[in-house]
Amino acid sequence: MTTTRLLELQNVTQSYGLRDRQFVAVRDVSLAIDEGEFVALLGPSGCGKSTLLRIIAGLTTPPEGRVLYRGKPLRGVNPYATIVFQTFALFPWLTVQQNVEIALTARGVPDKIATPRALDLLDKVGLDGFESAYPRELSGGMRQKVGFARAMAVNPELLCLDEPFSALDVLSAEALRGELMELWTAGDIPTKAILMVTHSIEEAVFLADRIVIMEKDPGRVVADLKVGLRHPRRRKSTAFLEMVDRVYATMAGQTQPEQVEMGTAPGGGRLRLLPDININDLAGLLEELNDFPGNWADIFRLADELKLDSDHLLRLIEAAELLGFATIAAGDITLTPLGETFADASVRGRKEIFGVRIRRLPVFRWLIAELKKVDGNRLTWSRMKEEFEREFLPEEVEHQIGIAVDWGRYAEILAYDDDKEIIYLDTAGLPQR
């Protein structure tokens, strides 16, 4: 059987900012979606998966690369695609019925046809009886059903889902996933393909036929895995768990050359983003691992056991690896002897170890050198910003400096005066001059 190619991205690169302060959201991505496919885009926050979805829907036009829909270059908004949003994006001042009707009205469908069609769709997603309710009266799950009904109203060929279940509670999300699969597998809807952005590995394995894995810095596609499981899938089956393990292994095992791995100082090439973590959480994770026999654990099981979402856990693991507290291999995380020492150490001891480790990071090495250069060992926040702005997106800069200051304060390397917005070298933590 020959399949029809619905959508194709060819070497798409999307960047923001001006010439010397460019930030690359996605680099050189090529991707194809065929009719009948359910593709999941999986990756950590900031890997550009939502950007990719918006490029595919035609909301953003990439400066480089080509977007083809049914073989023709896409110009402007893709009329055959529609999006279901994470935040539902319903108009709060319109009733449930009006929210669905408006999608039809916008395409010039007269009310006489739009109204029965909206009612029919609401019936299909099980919102019969809630037509005149306002979104705020509904639970999250029901609101997202309105989101689905609105998307279906325009008979999209390509249905784009932007983390549609991640704002819902566990039970509603599960129910809605099941209902989506019913509609999709039964062929009740004219949709030819579904593209879903998610950061939940299990969700991707549960729903998709193909999982496209992305990495950040810069956003790129690193793997494209086929999921050969039959629907309905059972989460506890061995085949399912093996697939989840494989995806975890692929995602956590993305190693880069040493320089990329450690990052560089501002001006010395691409900076590595410091993972946004709570240092107490990191300590907690290391302690937990220290209690495991052999000091290692399967990352997927760990997520389950600690009740952490995978995004959060992966950030902690990234930090542990960056600081040399743990190593990652084939979906497993193993504590290093240093990590063990950290887990066993007292509060003071931990601060010392942490301090020694972050001094090795080029960002901190640069920062300390800069601080030592100036009289009084101080830098203003705005001066830091200027340096960082050469490397990061403007909205990322404040965040990154915040993390650096937080880590430095914990390690007692830095002090920060919030009133004056000045970063000091913490002289108490340094040998006396």
Partner: protein, 574 residues
């Protein structure tokens, strides 16, 4: 309570560095004032005002006239605001000038324009038309900036997803305006409309009573009625006029603004739960009587649909893809070049006219600025001294606030300029005379902003902190120093910014007045402007007006903004 906070805090943009947009803004103001002054040379030297009747029979007519002026100005403001905001939103280069301009214009003391506008218009219009138009221009200028800011801000803060929905479902401009842009802005527009009307009354009253030397610019209306009554010492007419004014303001509040607020609650993005929805008896009754409501709605629909369509055409922006690059058409370039040339030429002429002002006149203007600044300061200090303790007492005591709030609201709703004739009648002969009256007028214009902000701040102090203060056995002074004053600081600053602007405005009418056929004046920038208007000394008028505008803008920038920022960063409760 929430209503009060919203009502009495101006929309101050966040800290913004000086840009060349500020320079353009100041130059534009200069050129505009210059143009008015230039025209003033052709204005007649003597302007005879209208006969103002004190018969109670004319009150409905006068009230109607005053109301109509407000309504016309408000309608113009609304349309202008949507248009101005859209130009800024649609063109990045225009945005860089329009937003600083907006910021400067909203801190300019509007009343300082009044003489220039009146004289400029009198040069080529019949005196009555000129005065009518000037009052509308004045009210319009006072109302439009915060409305514009509300519209611009709402469109800027709209969630990205909602804009994406409009794009992906291919809404056209009209549908997008109707379903997304306007509903999203509704709450902000309603709140700011209420603010605009409150301010509008102040300026309308000032415009209706404006008289300098042999130039009587009065307009038949409630303000002139009050003024005439005070002039003739007719206590009866004075009370009748005040009652009519207050009744009209309360009536509008009850059957227009409150219902609008209650209705606009549906446009909230998300209900946070804790904030109670505004309520209105009129709105409730309206909704319950379906028959009347349907009937009126049908009628309003017929009448308003074409109007809405027109506003929509003016106000809706073309549908866009979300990340559209800014258009850099040649039209904008031509516009900028022409605009730049006009500004340059106008500024040159303005400077040439300013050169005709003698050194002695300049020093007189400088002294006047100083004197007025001292009066403003005095008014603010007196206001602080009484509003802080009283506000805290009311804010921390729900029972007290339950019955004092409505009283204070009614008191606050009376525009200070309407009470000015009353003050004159009572105080002009007292020791201190006009000096005292001027400070009192400023005080009346400022104290309410402060009082309501202090009440809001006091009632927002978390109970946990109050309890902690008790548990720690802090004495009264320590409690003020550690808890109450820091907690109030942001509210006081917000109140002061609005209050300061009001006080400067008041100086125009307060420092120079014609009362009982005699001219009374004290040293000040307001009297400098009024005297220059009276004597026809127009270069001095230009110099004084510009000095006042620039002084107030600078004070805003260098005194209030840093304090506001400090309040936001250091003393925020979150």
């Amino acid at each position: 309570m929430n209503r009060i906070i919203r009502l009495f805090s101006s929309a101050v943009p966040r800290q913004r560095p000086w840009t060349w947009g500020d320079l353009v803004a100041l130059l534009s103001v200069t050129v505009l004032v210059y143009a008015g002054t230039r025209l003033a040379f052709y204005a007649p030297a003597v302007i005879r005002g209208p006969e103002i009747s004190l018969s109670p029979d004319v009150l409905p007519l006068y009230a109607g006239l005053s109301f109509t002026r407000m309504l016309i100005a408000y309608g113009m403001s609304l349309i202008f605001s949507l248009w101005y905001g859209n130009v800024a939103l649609g063109n990045q280069r225009a945005e860089q000038i329009l937003i600083p301009l907006l910021d400067v214009l909203q801190s300019v003391p509007i009343l300082s324009f009044l003489p220039v506008v009146l004289l400029g218009l009198s040069a080529f219009l019949s005196q009555n038309t000129a005065a009518e138009l000037a009052s509308i221009v004045l009210i319009f200028t006072s109302q439009t900036w915060n409305l514009t800011f509300a519209w611009y801000q709402s469109q800027k803060t709209m969630p990205r997803e909602l804009r994406e929905v409009a794009a992906i479902f291919q809404f056209n401009a009209w549908l997008r305006f109707k379903v997304l842009d306007l509903p999203f802005a509704t709450i902000g527009l309603v709140w700011n409309s209420i603010m605009s009307w409150a301010g509008g009354w102040f300026f309308l009253m000032a415009a209706e009573i404006f008289t300098v030397g042999k130039k009587d610019f009065r307009l038949p209306g409630l303000g002139a009625y009050l003024n005439e009554a005070a002039n003739r010492g007719d206590g009866n007419a004075l009370s009748l006029g005040l009652i009519t004014l207050i009744a009209m303001i309360i009536f509008l509040d009850q059957v227009l603004w409150r219902p609008l607020l209650a209705w606009s609650d549906r446009f909230k993005l998300e209900t946070l739960g804790s904030v109670p929805a505004p309520n209105s008896w009129f709105y409730d009754a309206w909704r319950k009587s379906r028959v009347v409501a349907d009937w009126v709605r049908a009628g309003a629909g017929l009448a308003l649909a074409p109007l809405a369509r027109i506003i929509g055409l003016l106000a809706s922006r073309p549908a866009e893809t979300v990340d559209a690059e800014p258009a850099r058409g040649w039209k904008t370039t031509v516009f900028f070049i022409v605009g730049g040339a006009i500004l340059g030429w106008g500024s040159y002429l303005a400077i040439a006219m300013l050169a005709r002002v003698s050194l002695q006149e300049w020093s007189q203007i400088g002294l006047g600025l100083g004197a007025t600044a001292l009066r403003v300061l005095a008014a603010i200090i007196v206001a602080l001294l009484w509003t802080v303790p009283v506000g805290v007492a009311i804010g921390m005591n729900p029972r007290l606030s339950a019955w004092l709030q409505p009283v204070a609201q009614v008191a606050a709703s009376i525009p200070a300029t309407a009470l000015f004739p009353v003050l004159l009648l009572g105080l002009l002969t007292a020791p201190g005379g006009l000096n005292l009256t001027a400070v009192l007028l400023m005080l009346m214009g400022t104290q309410w902003y402060l009082l309501f902000n202090v009440i809001a701040g006091a009632s927002a102090i978390p109970h946990e902190l109050e309890h902690t203060a008790k548990v720690l056995r802090l004495n009264k002074w320590q409690r003020w120093r550690v808890l109450t004053l820091p907690a109030l600081f942001p509210y006081i600053i917000t109140g002061l910014i609005t209050a300061g602007g009001g006080a400067w405005n008041a100086s125009i009418v307060a420092e120079y007045t014609v009362f009982g056929g005699k001219v009374h004046s004290v040293l000040g920038i307001g009297s400098a402007i009024a005297e220059a208007t009276a004597s026809g000394h127009y270069p001095v008028l230009l110099a004084a007006t510009l000095s006042m505008i620039i002084a107030v803008v600078l004070i805003n920038r260098f005194a209030w903004r840093p304090l506001y920022r400090l309040a936001e960063v250091r003393f925020r409760m979150d």
